[in-house]
Assembly symmetry: C2
Homo-oligomer: 254 residues x 2
């Protein structure tokens, strides 16, 4: 087991480590340190348990940069910690929002197989990338996956959050069989401090479209407001800068 | 783009190459060379196309060993070729067969999402490994996945083949939305030479259980006879050694 900190570069692994059979986390680096570190380490350990891997022992170095992305990759052979700049597209989506398409992911919330790893943030991410490429081919930036029953699930790399009146909602991860979103959960925990009521709800696409505002929540983007859904433009919300500020994200830089 | 031949060892990759966003093939090395090389290279190229990757340019070295496993891994950054011994468990399953469990994979054959990569042999293999671990926890060796409609799909690392009378069958990959099995397709193409009629059929678990013999077909195991299905023992078939011989596999060694 090796542990290395690098800025991008290359890593030495056995070829079998390229089969996606591990887990990872991506964290937002801030002057105060990696944001929501305990929560991300706890999810890394839960993901590992879902893949029948021992709990990882992560020791971060003291000299991390005060901005950028921190990635922790944990396979059956290695634990790798790397730092990279936040891609410009991520900052643009935080600032300008995303055009999203909703589509049937072919997954039933009631029939996840008993060996499902959907609740783990696994390294088997090819389908997530494929979903985003499909959205891009259809003139959008991102995708909102629906269950075969018509429920809103998640985006390929983000949780779905929405505001209706003063209720700030996300999808219940256990009931939906999706990855528990750390940024979304933290946002909901802070909602009362800005006069909003947090809630978890299973909703349909029609109900989502009727919400006042929709966001995709993830660690680097923070909140990316959905500016169009299935081609229908949506009015920008005054809540976006307010909630980004609440979470400590800058709308203009890293 | 680098290309290396090694016996196991380690490989230098960018950390993003650990996100399962690539494709691979595993071939059976024989004294005559890598078996069904053209077919595996064609599938590698088809898999790459499904992931919107350029067609790989694979040049194998001339000094490959005459037994073992050859693995070709192709990501957006690297093309890696490695050789390893065939695991003892693989040879044992070829010789002694496998106890299989059938289970709902939660996937509908009619509702694959438009971005599905199920027909590609992608590096995002964690769910396949998880399915086999689940089978092992339940006293079996392998798993036969069923669609939500009840159709037999595939095993996590193999195609399902069965014999009923003189009809040798497998699942139609396009209709089922599964990976096209190279070993299974080759076996069916050779069926007439031993007096069997090849066919592709969508069948239910009940129909599969009623077959005379069931095998899991893959490049290293060749054919692993299903010796029990969901706990019900099955009579060993005289066809297993005959078909292994037809395909050029030894029942006793590599």
């Amino acid at each position: 087991m090796t542990s290395i900190v690098r800025v991008i570069e290359r890593i030495l692994v056995p070829p079998t480590d390229l089969l996606g059979d591990g887990v990872f986390e991506t964290l937002h680096l801030r002057p105060s340190g990696p944001w929501l570190l305990d929560e991300h380490l706890a999810r890394l350990a839960r993901s590992a348990a879902i893949l029948d891997m021992p709990s990882p022992s992560v020791r971060l170095p003291g000299d991390l940069p005060d901005s950028g992305a921190l990635r922790i990759i944990y396979t059956r052979q290695i634990l790798d910690i790397s730092v990279s700049p936040i891609p410009a597209s991520v900052l643009r989506e935080r600032r300008d929002g995303v055009r999203a398409l909703a589509a049937d992911s072919g997954i039933s919330v009631r029939r996840r197989p008993p060996w499902s790893i959907a609740a783990a943030k696994s390294l088997s991410y090819a389908e997530n990338f494929a979903a985003r490429r499909w959205a891009a081919r259809h003139g959008a930036d991102d995708l909102i996956g629906l269950s075969t029953e018509g429920y809103v699930l998640e985006a390929p790399t983000a949780s779905v959050v929405w505001l209706t009146g003063d209720e700030l909602c996300t999808v219940p991860p256990v009931e939906a069989g999706i990855l528990p979103g750390i940024t979304a959960a933290h946002l909901l925990s802070r909602a009362p401090s800005v006069g909003l009521r947090p809630a978890e709800r299973m909703i349909t696409l029609g109900e989502l479209a009727a919400a006042d505002t929709i966001w995709l929540a993830s660690s680097l983007r923070g909140l990316a407001e959905v500016t169009s859904l299935d081609g229908a433009s949506r009015t920008r919300s005054p809540w976006t800068p307010r909630l980004l500020e609440l979470l400590g994200y800058s709308a203009t830089d890293a």
